[in-house]
């Protein structure tokens, strides 16, 4: 075996909270850190299941988030209900292509990217694949980093709602779509948080 040894091979386990290293010769069950009392685990508990669950829920909410209008703008009596996509189109048509690109990236591309990346990571981890492990690790860091940045739409809507309150002539009102969109973003964040990146490297059949 050319690879450097891992904690499990050395019969050790580290506390994820305080960093205390303990001896763990056998399979870990109902173990707690002797120092801080946190639950000791070799890997995050049920990481794959949690990630899958959150990811699937996020994907389900992503459908109404895109179909339902997220925001109603009223300007001079012209009532305009916009979904994410129609908002992007309108921004583009009305001469703000840069804004359109940003909103498109944040609200359409990033969530989609998260779905694809998380799904890939999960599938590969489940199959203990050795394929492109380094890149997968990088992807995970990327997904984790993006995190709440795809909340952009939610931020925009809440900001506009707070700012533009000129009564009859101009008004911005959030619509249910924005809730589903927010839920989607939160659930993808939870999914990426639940994923244990160490699983990417657990390629052995008998790994925990």
């Amino acid at each position: 075996m050319s690879a450097p040894p891992r904690a499990v091979e050395l019969g050790l386990v580290g506390c994820t909270v305080c960093g205390q290293v303990c001896r763990a010769p056998g399979p870990l069950a109902q173990a707690a850190c002797p120092r801080c009392g946190a639950v000791l685990r070799r890997r995050k508990a049920g990481s794959l299941a949690r990630s899958w669950a959150f990811l699937i829920a996020a994907f389900i909410f992503y459908i109404p988030a895109n179909l339902l209008p997220i925001m109603r703008t009223v300007s001079l009596g012209d009532v305009d209900d916009n979904t994410i996509l129609s908002g992007v189109v309108e921004l583009w048509v009305k001469g703000s292509p840069d804004l359109a690109v940003i909103v498109f990236a944040a609200s359409i591309m990033v969530p989609m990217l998260k779905f694809v990346v998380l799904a890939t990571l999960l599938v590969c981890a489940q199959r203990r694949s050795r394929w492109a492990q380094v890149q997968r690790a990088r992807l995970y860091r990327l997904v984790d980093l993006i995190g709440y940045w795809s909340m952009l739409d939610v931020f925009v809507v809440s900001l506009l709602t707070a700012l533009v309150r000129f009564g009859f002539f101009s008004e911005v009102e959030p619509l249910p779509g924005v809730i589903y969109f927010g839920l989607t973003v939160i659930l993808t964040m939870l999914a990426s948080m639940s994923f244990d990146p160490r699983l990417t490297w657990d390629t052995d059949k008998d790994a925990p």
Binding site: G11, L12, Q20, Q30, A31, A49, I60, P64, V79
Partner: protein
């Protein structure tokens, strides 16, 4: 791979403590399940709200936008425009509308759709709200239950909503005037309804209008109601002067219909729905008693017809019984003259009771023409007279001319020709000339001179009065005043004259007393007359002056 208990340098590390097991991780699958349920409920809700889809054809899609324009009934949103397309022949636009589930009854035959957009017309501004809220498609549901998916949209909002309280009536008129759909209907100058539609008659000889009078004011439309066109200002300059008549400023601009009951006894039963009425040109015509059939007569005037216009009244003994309908020139080759042929329509029924009696009499004279013949024999002639000296408007008067030259009258002629008498205008001119002559004969100069002299004499007389008579009069009056003054002084209670009189009377009394005392003394002592008085008690001392006895 990993050996059980491999000795190593970490054996002195602590053992983990044993803890009880936590909740089952599979509960996490509740999250996606919940999400799925929410998504499903959304889908079900959307599916339940899905109503029928209809297509409406419009002439133009102005103000209609896909995904944005709403369909409203009584300002409640009942659907939304999904798509706007051209029809296959490109003549109209087809608007695809997704109705709400609750608005299924609007996809039935009889429902009317129109685009409500701001409209600025003579009748006013409508749909102002849509300026701000954007256009929308208005709907008015019908009674029908028959399903329908294709509609032809109205170009204008319907004047009357279905189910609105009120009644609709049919008016018939010669022309539309300035009326339009939506033109107001007035009752006593209050707006109570509007014109809902109009169309040409089948024969093209008139216009039929439908009006709608809102409840509860529809009850004022009685069976004998008279309708007239209240459009515009009715200015007429006729033989009877200048007449200006208008209903209101709004009708001047936009036109309108007014109605009212005729004066006098009439049927006040409210008229039934769709009752037919005549729309008169103006109020006077509407309120006039019915004319009955007109009788055309022709008159031949041997004089200028200047001032006589078509429409000029024909009066019989001052009662308007018709109007002039035509004025033409004829040529009399024999006399080298151009007589004027004036045609007129007479409405004998306007004579009222006289007509009834005349009709009875006509029966014994061989019809109306025979009666007319008798009247002509008695001197009935047509004359042109000046109706208005200011404007020179003429009218035709039918009057009995005394000592009229005999005229021929053919009662069987078609048209009837009434004999004429020289117009009053020539006579009037003559009379005016005579008056002017007489006026000229008045010797204004000498009158003036005499008046001057007389005035001078009067002036002198007045001066005399002023200068001589008045001072003397003044003095006399002063003297009289003085006399009266002295008289007043003498007669007043505290005047000296009065007091002196009183004193005198008192002294006189005293004297009388002493005299009595003396006579009494002498009666007892008569010798005293000779010897003088002895010492005897003296007579009582006279009382001090002013002391009453």
């Amino acid at each position: 791979m990993s050996d059980e208990h491999k000795p190593g340098p970490y054996d002195d590390l602590p053992e983990p403590a044993v803890r009880r097991r936590r909740l089952n991780a599979s509960l996490i699958w509740l999250v996606p399940t919940l999400a799925a349920l929410v998504g499903l409920s959304l889908a079900v809700k959307a599916w339940l709200q899905q109503g029928p889809t209809i297509r409406i054809s419009f002439a133009s899609a102005e103000g209609v936008e896909a995904d944005k324009t709403e369909v409203k009934y009584k300002n409640v949103v009942i659907g939304r425009v999904e798509a706007v397309d051209l029809s296959e022949d490109r003549k109209r636009v087809i608007v695809k509308v997704a109705l709400n589930k609750s608005a299924e009854s609007f996809a039935t035959a009889g429902t009317r759709y129109w685009v409500e957009r701001p409209r600025i017309g003579l009748g006013g501004v409508s749909g102002v709200g849509t300026l701000l809220s954007g256009s929308y498609i208005g709907a008015d549901v019908g009674d029908s239950q028959e399903r329908k998916a294709f509609f032809v949209g109205l170009e204008n909002p319907p004047a009357v909503m279905r189910g609105a309280p009120g009644k609709s009536f049919v008016l018939h008129s010669d022309d539309l005037g300035s009326l339009d759909i939506g033109s107001p209907v007035y009752y006593r100058r209050i707006r109570v309804g509007r014109v809902s539609s109009y169309q040409l008659d089948e024969d093209g000889k008139g216009v039929t209008l439908r009006i709608f009078v809102d409840g509860p004011n529809d009850r004022y439309v009685t069976r004998s109601a008279r309708f007239w066109n209240a459009s515009g200002v009715d200015v007429s300059l006729g033989a009877d002067g200048l007449k200006v008549n208008s209903q209101s400023l709004a009708t001047v601009i936009a036109g309108g219909v007014a109605f009212q009951d005729p004066p006098g006894p009439h049927d006040t039963t409210p008229a039934a729905e769709d009752t037919r009425f005549t729309l008169f040109a103006d109020r006077a015509t509407a309120m006039a008693p019915p004319d009955g059939p007109g009788q055309y007569v022709r008159m031949r005037f041997d004089q200028s017809v200047r001032g006589l216009a078509v429409g000029a009244p024909v009066e019989f003994l001052g009662v308007n019984i018709g109007r002039v309908v035509s004025i033409n020139l004829d040529y009399d080759a024999g006399r080298q003259r151009f007589p004027a042929l004036v045609g007129a329509l007479l409405y004998p029924q306007r004579l009222g009771r006289a007509y009834e009696k005349l009709a009875a009499a006509a029966a014994s004279h061989g019809g109306e023409e025979g009666l007319l013949g008798t009247l002509v024999a008695h001197g009935l002639r047509a004359q042109m007279r000046v109706g208005n000296l200011l404007t020179g408007q003429m009218y035709v008067a039918l009057d009995f001319v005394p000592n009229a030259p005999k005229a021929t009258f053919d009662p069987r002629a078609k048209p009837l020709e009434l004999p004429t008498a020289p117009g009053s205008f020539d006579k009037l001119q003559e009379q005016v000339v005579q008056i002017v002559d007489k006026v000229q004969k008045i010797p204004f100069d000498s009158i003036g001179r005499h008046l001057d002299d007389s005035l001078a004499g009067l002036d002198g007389a007045l001066k005399q009065v002023n200068g001589q008579l008045l001072p003397q009069l003044n003095r006399t009056l002063e003297g009289a005043q003085q006399t009266l003054h002295s008289a007043n002084g003498a007669l007043s209670a505290d005047a000296p004259l009065q007091r002196e009189l009183g004193d005198t009377l008192e002294q006189l009394q005293r004297m009388a007393r002493s005299l009595r005392a003396l006579t009494d003394y002498l009666g007892v002592h008569p010798e005293a007359l000779l010897r003088g008085r002895q010492d005897a008690p003296p007579p009582p001392a006279p009382p001090s002056p002013g002391r009453k006895p």
